[in-house]
Symmetry: C2
Subunit: 301 residues, 2 copies
Amino acid sequence: MFDLNLYLVSKRKQINLFLENLLKSYFDCALGSRIYDAMEYTLAGNGKRMRPILCIAAAQAVNGKTQDVIRAACALEMIHTYSLIHDDLPAMDNDSIRRGKPTCHIAFDEATAILTGDALLTFAFQTLSINKAESGKRIDSHRLLKVINRIAFAAGNGGMVEGQMMDVFSENRNLTLDELEKMHNLKTGALISASVYSGAVLGGGTDGQIEALEIFAKNIGLAFQVKDDILNIEGEPEIMGKAAGTDIIRNKSTYPLVMGLKESKKFAQNLVSSALKALDCFDNKAEPLRHIAGYIIERKK
Amino acid sequence: MFDLNLYLVSKRKQINLFLENLLKSYFDCALGSRIYDAMEYTLAGNGKRMRPILCIAAAQAVNGKTQDVIRAACALEMIHTYSLIHDDLPAMDNDSIRRGKPTCHIAFDEATAILTGDALLTFAFQTLSINKAESGKRIDSHRLLKVINRIAFAAGNGGMVEGQMMDVFSENRNLTLDELEKMHNLKTGALISASVYSGAVLGGGTDGQIEALEIFAKNIGLAFQVKDDILNIEGEPEIMGKAAGTDIIRNKSTYPLVMGLKESKKFAQNLVSSALKALDCFDNKAEPLRHIAGYIIERKK
């Protein structure tokens, strides 16, 4: 019987330990400790580690090992964290609380926050481009280049940068359902897809397996965001580590606003069903992915 | 007889054309046009293209072709441009003129400037990780990964991020000569070295050739910065496209301030001599590099 909670706790532990060691290697080459301190501050804490866990679980689904992909998994968390730091800046969302504590530019200062984001983004690619699987196995260089390219695309024009741009410039304006979906696919979906893709490719998946996992990822990526919108209305700030109700205050377009709260929940449920269907061709090694899909809409934070 | 001016003009033209085509491919995948407009705005203009030209000239020195490295060369210019955009932000140097026109956050806005920097940094790695030489030749994937790793290191903890951090936090405080050299090696030297390294590695250089070119790069990298400090005192703002005298106003530590103007010029000259000496083992295919070394301390902008 698969225990998701045990799985998440154990994977988070592995990821946090590996991230800590990577940060030490950053520090060994770096000058001072302020950027390091800010990287450590923002990476630490009670992050869900959803992207690295999806990367690892996707690798497992195609018979790969955690050690084959833990490096890429940690790079994905760095990219996610960089985006949070920059999105929180005064010129963007101007958020002061994140993951239950002051945001980077509040805890440090704005210049440090900008540079820490830059450092995390850069360090992610530095980490990715070292062809050294912790299993001792050598990753196929061609596959590794494909993963780097996909992650860069998801972080840039194919995803996060364009999504954040759309988000910033659509405050105080009503988005249509199509625009909302486009924004979320860019802002959140692209990196979630890239996480699943990276695990599948580095784990040695076949083209058919990678294709099926892409469909899975697209569906849970959107479900994840719909649930985030729902949590912004129904969530408990103490559990989430961030304020609730902020979308309404900012007059942001969200799924509950556009299609109603009840319909949003049904929509998220349907997305998860489609995601699970895409996993039909996998055996029980895909159990972690199946349970994560359910967790995405049941989570409280 | 080698004509440096002709060489620089012709290489700049090739680089600008390739950059333009890369940007079009960015636009094809991107949502809106504002980030694209800001990327185009900051990349265009009268940039020296020093880093991509060094990359190309280093490739030529080891018998490589421009087409083998033009992709990496353009990625280096994107990284350089990203760093200028972020360095110019109000929270950092707060500069309003760059390359003869308003800086990105003045011409657009702060959120767009932060995201455009992020987009350029990310797009650089996206560009680098496509294994497609314009000559039709396939680059060795292992060499390409080494180049990506080195460029990420130079942009991050092994260079620009740490250098900028040191720069921001050392305003209004006198640096020692050692600290000044360290800061410049990080802020400017690391990416210049990475440019030469990338050209040498992707151009197919031997270990011995790469090693000699690393010594060359280290020397011209520092000479470049010493000359920049000198130009900040002696340069003509109309020729440079940026204000002069700003270092003194900001009470920044510079070579002329620490060792005197005359000594700084001599120091730059000695660095160039050491750089040229490192090229002794190369034949006339290294002529572009030799002339660039001289140009670095003779330039007016």
